[in-house]
Symmetry: C2
Amino acid sequence: MADLRLLLLSNSTNAGEPYLGYSIGEIGRFLGSDDLAPLFIPYAAEMVSYDDYEAIAAGPFASVGQTLTSVHHAADPVVAVAAARAIVIGGGNSFRLLRQLQQQRILGPIGDVVRRGAPYVGWSAGSNVACPTIRTTNDMPIVEPAGFAALAFVPIQINPHYVSNVIPGHAGETRDGRIAEFLHANPDQVVIGLREGTMLRVEGARATIVGARPARVFRHDSAPVEIEPGSDLYQIVRSAPRG
Amino acid sequence: MADLRLLLLSNSTNAGEPYLGYSIGEIGRFLGSDDLAPLFIPYAAEMVSYDDYEAIAAGPFASVGQTLTSVHHAADPVVAVAAARAIVIGGGNSFRLLRQLQQQRILGPIGDVVRRGAPYVGWSAGSNVACPTIRTTNDMPIVEPAGFAALAFVPIQINPHYVSNVIPGHAGETRDGRIAEFLHANPDQVVIGLREGTMLRVEGARATIVGARPARVFRHDSAPVEIEPGSDLYQIVRSAPRG
């Protein structure tokens, strides 16, 4: 097994910026100067067509010398995944994405090529499915997947679009409340709240926060901890006392 | 089959009010002057014990002459449900609630007693499970139920805690965006956004919004419609043009 290489983004795009605006520079550095012709997985998209989603994502990738092609053009998605030199999974709805990955039978093949060293880029739902399960998604369960287990590239659960603000006067639970519920039900898990505009870059045993804001790490019965950009998340998670 | 009698609340409690404060008067009128000794289903609770949840809910019910007893005291939950003269399902996490209903094998028995005429009161997750599925919940999928199908007492999907406000500067999708995604994936469905402080009272073929604010009805490829309190939701849904 080669070293895992992952770039997991909280979100594609910050409010008011062009698509992948904050992240495409880092994506370019992560993928390197050779065009790896990354295979794009558009299955999270519910409200746009796969053709349109491919066109939206391909522009920024072209600007860093990477030719994105969507798997939905492939006669056999399993063959396309097995031949891919890089995998890119876009955001949308995590339940829809996972169900499509299951139905197209490419969860296992994506796991194989990434574990053999193909770099993986995901944003939002594409970061959720890099985790052991999609149980820390923010999405509505608009369709029913055959189980919540996902790619398990990282041993932690990412909460993308992490935000601690609340809507004033609203009694529905907050994001922190949802994460606390998850950890109460799953006390052995670690959740990392990835704020918008930030990402987690994994290279082998090292996992680094990239971006202008810290990430927030949540564990059961412990106070949350802020992890500054550049810090090694895995080391901090491993060394932190359990509460 | 008797007429269905349901009181489905958006939320237990408005911000800053006592538990069930806005709703207990309506609950009392709905259940009537006889003490039906309603059976309380506390399974949505993740962060409080069943004993504590029962105590929290029992107070307001006692104030309207109803003696609430939680199913978790019963030696056999199936027997307790079959003997119940009223069912009350409290809020919490919808995925946890549905999984517990499945594991305790009381989904079918609750359906039976309510379809024979026992009144049903639910709030938040307890309103989600009264729908055909829990696919319009706002909750995080902290645990994995064996499928999303629920009690199907109503032919519509409720979105509880419905709110159209957004957090400024946040790029994550809005509530309206989530509901639009659901309807795009499930174009034959109708979603009713129940704002906090409002409820849906169903008596046979009549479904009325109760509370100080309208409900918002969403259908695929139609503009949302506001339904004023007192209006018959079913009649409006049936008569509205599609598309």
